[in-house]
Subunit: 296 residues, 2 copies
């Protein structure tokens, strides 16, 4: 599925080696938070958000699109990983399994999990500001701003988590609102940061904007279905947690089959938004199909 | 003590009104995290970090130094407040009193406290990137980068909290290392961001750099002394917590009187670093004296 997986993983490890680990002696007893960051971020994952960023950047035809995308790839994965660590905490979703291994607070402790999350979130902005400092272009400033607003409490991921924890999600409208922020916003930021950083036209950016909004919805519905039909082995996390927590999902509202029909419609709609790019969007189309039919 | 207090408070409230609250209906049951942010950040505090930023900026003689400093003032206070909310959590320092009121997880709950902290940290970077977007100057990029690195896990505040939680602080050297990151880094960032954003000379920035490092040390020693000699009424937080948690401090290493002598030496040393500014640094000298002799 992912030609970029090794590249992304290599860049994450190299960045952490050259920055975080070097200054904090990862094997030192006194800095277990560094070990926790290593544990959580080097523990696999699909690297979906960095991949979307690279595929959007690749549409530009720029020779150096990978270099232009990489700071965003790191920042997006740092933010995604921090959100998983904090969401898994006992006071939040109270999950003990993630990517087939104990969650950070289970493997280490709650204090470490909170600090590892805080550290990763801040690190994302250290990467983005360092990139702006080295390449102070309007495109880099705009792309970084997109990531910050899509991650926050005003109109981003933290707002989505708040809504998910405290809003009664018993209607499709409420659920869509939660999903827009909780999952959609960072997927949206992934696609747009790659596009903006690589100077795509405003018309192309508009199409990718619409694509990413639909993709975010589809991704969450696929997640809802997998929580019912998936296995712990395939997913690497506990299943049935939505039902256990009495959460309304597309699967509970429309049944698994009903949710699958909606998912197929969204897949077609998302791919339609990519038509402006013709065959250049082949990989992005493939990824979209993969994401809506995935089993993990 | 602080001619800037009202100005800072007004700007914080206005920013949150126009951004966070407006989009998240603060009185709505579904968004208690917004209420928690309002509760924690509008709950007084000395606003030391924004004040330091403004006093450093004022040294420039720029007519618009307040405008140039204000984004940093907001970001610094958002970061400081997030760190207090997270540090107070049961898994960390487990404090139930802050600024004379219940801590956020006591007044609300742990989930809200974690998310309020995450939201505030991200909001700080939304402010900084928005400022860079509107005024993409080298000075703004550099000042924002200083704040990000002084807040993080590589060489900033989160690293300090990690060291404080996990490193045996039984020698002066270890204690100094913890203090450098945990308290010193953000005080350092406060002074330097105001100076850099207002275009002070590299020579002036160097003096302020040295000043802020010493001030950070002095501030922490004053805190150590107050944890022994202060009262709950004056401090608005529980006292004796260092002794309770078996933490090594300047007071435990040198006794209260010994710590006071060291504090006086640092005060003189810090003020000496400001001599390059002559009478222009009058307010900063006064603040330094106030901070080293404060009773809250």
């Amino acid at each position: 599925m992912n030609e970029y997986l090794d590249l992304i993983n290599k860049n994450i490890v190299t960045y952490l080696d050259n920055n975080l680990y070097q200054h904090n002696e990862p094997v030192h007893e006194a800095v277990p938070v560094t070990n926790a960051i290593k544990y959580s971020i080097e523990n696999g994952g699909k690297r979906l958000r960095p991949t979307l960023c690279l595929l959007a950047g690749e549409l530009s035809g720029n020779e150096d699109y990978i270099d232009k995308c990489m700071p965003y790839c790191l920042a997006l994965e740092f933010i995604h990983t921090y959100s998983l660590i904090h969401d898994d905490l006992p006071a939040m979703d109270n999950d003990d399994l993630r990517r087939g291994k104990p969650t950070v607070h289970k493997q280490f402790d709650e204090c470490i999990a909170i600090l590892a999350g805080d550290g990763l979130l801040n690190l994302a902005y250290e990467v983005l500001l360092d990139n702006i400092s080295k390449n102070p272009t309007e495109a880099n400033i705009r792309a970084s701003k997109i990531i910050s607003s899509c991650s926050g409490i005003v109109s981003g991921m933290v707002k989505g988590q708040v809504l998910d924890m405290y809003q009664a999600s018993n209607t499709k409208e409420t659920l869509d609102n939660i999903n827009t922020y909780k999952t959609g916003a960072l997927i949206h930021a992934s696609v747009l940061s790659g596009a903006v950083a690589n100077g795509l036209s405003e018309n192309e950016i508009k199409s990718l904007y619409e694509y990413s909004i639909i993709l975010g919805k589809a991704f969450q519905i696929a997640d809802d279905i997998l929580d019912v039909t998936g296995s712990v082995e395939e997913l690497g996390k506990n299943i049935g947690s939505d039902a256990k927590n009495n959460k309304t999902t597309y699967a509970s509202l429309f049944g698994v089959e009903g949710a699958k029909v909606i998912l197929e419609e969204l897949e077609a709609e998302a791919i339609g938004k990519l038509s402006i790019f013709g065959s250049r969007a082949k990989k992005l189309v493939e990824l979209t199909k993969y994401l809506t039919s995935r089993n993990n």
